[in-house]
Structures are given as structure tokens and as C-alpha cells.
Subunit: 148 residues, 2 copies
Amino acid sequence: MSSVDHSKMDNRLNERLATSGFRFTPQRQHVYSVLLGKRDHPTVEEVFMRSKQGMPDISMATVYNCLDALVKCGLVRHVNLDRAATRYCPNMKEHCHFYCEECGGVYDIDFMAEGNHHGLNVPEGFQIKQYDISLRGLCRDCASKAIK
Amino acid sequence: MSSVDHSKMDNRLNERLATSGFRFTPQRQHVYSVLLGKRDHPTVEEVFMRSKQGMPDISMATVYNCLDALVKCGLVRHVNLDRAATRYCPNMKEHCHFYCEECGGVYDIDFMAEGNHHGLNVPEGFQIKQYDISLRGLCRDCASKAIK
DNA sequence: TCAATATTTGGAATAATTCTAAGTCTCATT
DNA sequence: AATGAGACTTAGAATTATTCCAAATATTGA
């Protein structure tokens, strides 16, 4: 038995894709399972390398396409931390990311009522030097145009 | 009289550069004044174009260098919102960024005790669809190595 | 099964960022 | 004021990330 429950994952994936108007394809299934398999916030390049192990003919363009579809249907988040390549994260629980300026590692940080840093459950020994909060959505003008 | 107080700005800039081990140069001064002049979160390309108006011989590499120096000495923040180019912001007050998915505009959002969205002063009519919080610093391993 | 259309593929094209080497400037020290 | 060391700027090449494109293929609903 693998670490990921495939039938359950596929149902979830199929449903989410469908409600966003996307089709269910082996490539999207595979890329999603790759993300679930190792939750280390890989770059597109890394997802591509890992995906090729089980699906040697998959192309880079398809990996981009799959990741975009997964983000658009709410199964994956994309994370922009520095000026380097975008990273991907299949953890959709409310959480934030800690980026280590020294080693480049990315860690998930949960929110907690009793967290040690204003509700953030920052692990012992981690030093926060800076934080950023960004919101996405529609500005007033675009929101009012969207209604019409 | 220009909209920016140059003597005051130069003092501030000179001091900050010096304490971070950087030199004060006309290019850094100019790039900083360009950022202060129009606070619309420009990309490097945009900063380059604007900088050339008052300093026609400045090069792209220098703009990158200047922006990096300004970020490192704490006068400017760099903002990564989507997969597009990095943007820059000279507002060092505590605030966060709102990115409009439709028009691509970027707006500063202040924190307020009486804010309407959990302490965020989101303007009337703006629709928040998603938010991201990211922290930067040192992870446990890198922090312990840094002490030695 | 069939048609319509979404997706995949590989490669080319574009865009963002970094690197390099040579010349120039700044600053501290004479 | 001259000098030397090192930081900075410049232009362009190189690299890296991402998007675009057109043809082939796969998926879905009728």
C-alpha cells in the first residue's frame, strides 16, 4: 500500500477538476500524486524530474499546464518566496511559509490559538527576520466591472 | 520644490547604506528617488525606464545592483506576487499587498486596530479571494551554524 | 461511434535575472 | 594632492524561468 490513497485522491481530483471545467487526465493525476508524495515545496523543474520517473514521456509544458490546472481548481497553492522559481505546495490547510535565507529550505508553519508568534506555531530555534502578507482578489474597479 | 525632500532623503540613504557596508553613489540615490517618486510597485524594467529619464546612461545591471543594495539596507521591500517579475516598494511601514487578479494592480493595505478584515484596512469594494503569509529568516540548523 | 474541443508534446520564443570583464569611482591613507 | 585597494558601473553575453505554437492525441458528451 502506497503512502497516498489513490482511489480517494482520484475522486477528489476528478471532482475538483470537473467543477472548474478541466478534464481528468493521467498527467494531471500523476503530477498531483508527485506533489502529494513529497511535500517539500518543489519547483516546476523538480516536479518535472520526479514526474518523469513514473511517466517518462511527460513534457515540461504539460507540467506547467497541470500545475496551473491544480492551482486553479484549488488543490495546490503556488508559493513565490524570492526572485527564484515558483514553488508548489499541496497543503491547503490554513498555514504560511517559512523561507530559510541560508539554505533556501521552505517549511510550513501552522496557525494555532496558542502559537508562540502571534498565533504562528514557529518551531523552536527558527529565527524570523521578516514577514510578508499578500492578498489576491479583485480591486474595486475590476470587481464592479465583473458584476456587469 | 520637488515632491521629495532630497537633503533629508540623502542623509537617510547615506546612513543606511553606510551601516550595511555599501557606498553612497549617484545611481543608488537616483534609483531610490525614482522609487519614492511614484509608489506604484514598479518592476525592475519599469524602474530602469524611469531612471533613464534623469540618468540616461544608467544600465540595467546597475538598477539590479541598486535595488539589491536598497533592499539589503532596509529602505525598500521586494514583493513577489505571482510568476511575473519582482516588484519593489519603498513603503517600510508595516503593511501588506493586495494584488488584483484582473488588472494586475498592486495596492498597499495598512494594518489597523479597527480594520474591517481581521485588522486589515481593506478599501471598500475590494474582494479578497486568497491570502498568503510568508516568513523569512533562518531555520534551526542554519541558525545554530551561524552562532558558531 | 463520432464530432467537438481540451490536452499533450517538443521545440522555439520570450522574459527575467545573473554573470563577466574591463573601466571608473570612492575612500582611507599617505 | 597622490596612491592603492576594493567597490561600483557598464554593456553584453549567458543562464534560467516561463510562455507560446502548431500538430498529434485524448477525453467527453451526444
